[in-house]
Symmetry: C2
Subunit: 126 residues, 2 copies
């Protein structure tokens, strides 16, 4: 069985419980419309070209930072592949993503495919 | 006078003075070749599609994090525009970029154009 993965999203994590200021600032800075998720106001999508990684704002409880999501059609196979490269599992989030920590100290997530053109240029892993 | 800006680079800042481990891990995680900058081994470029934002690894003295660069054909006009949106100037780096802090707490840089297709889809600011 092979599975596939690629850079899916760049998430701008914003500490706090309200994205209004973050939406105003990042929309202006990037010159792009930002749309609050109608189903969950903890998330907002920043318009990007449809064939590029997505760009998200999200509220978080930890300090503000930026993190990467890898999108994959097999999260458990991807977790195992990444663990072999010395990343560690941090947490399985109830919303379905797997939070990992790279050997460089960066937190990142393994998520189900969410870019519309997946697999597109995703890499195949035997 | 108008100027233009857009998302230029996603930089994976790695604490320490050696990118070897970061290059191994992120190359494997993203399934992409990584090339050390022949002129400055504090930087390495991760292969991405040429019409997308660049992806860089760089050594830093602060904690590991991820940051965004905005590329612009007028860094001072862009600084003034961004300051009006409540970001603050942190430092003018000797290598030529301007380090800013967003009202959301994120550090980001204003850099000269470095994607080959600039201005491409950059936004124009009157």
């Amino acid at each position: 069985m092979t599975h596939r993965s690629r850079l899916g999203t760049l998430a701008i994590d914003c500490k706090g419980d309200d994205l209004a200021e973050a939406m105003r600032f990042w929309s202006a800075a990037l010159g792009s419309p930002v749309r609050l998720d109608p189903d969950d106001p903890r998330y907002a999508a920043i318009d990007r070209p449809p064939d590029e990684p997505k760009l998200l704002l999200q509220t978080v409880e930890h300090s503000s930072r930026v993190h990467i999501d890898l999108e994959t059609d097999d999260q458990e196979a991807e977790r195992a592949r990444i663990e072999e490269r010395s990343a560690r599992l941090v947490e399985r989030h109830p919303k379905g993503w797997i939070i990992m920590e790279a050997p460089t100290g960066h937190r990142f997530c393994l998520v189900a495919p969410h870019r519309a053109d997946f697999p597109g240029d995703a890499r195949e892993h035997p």
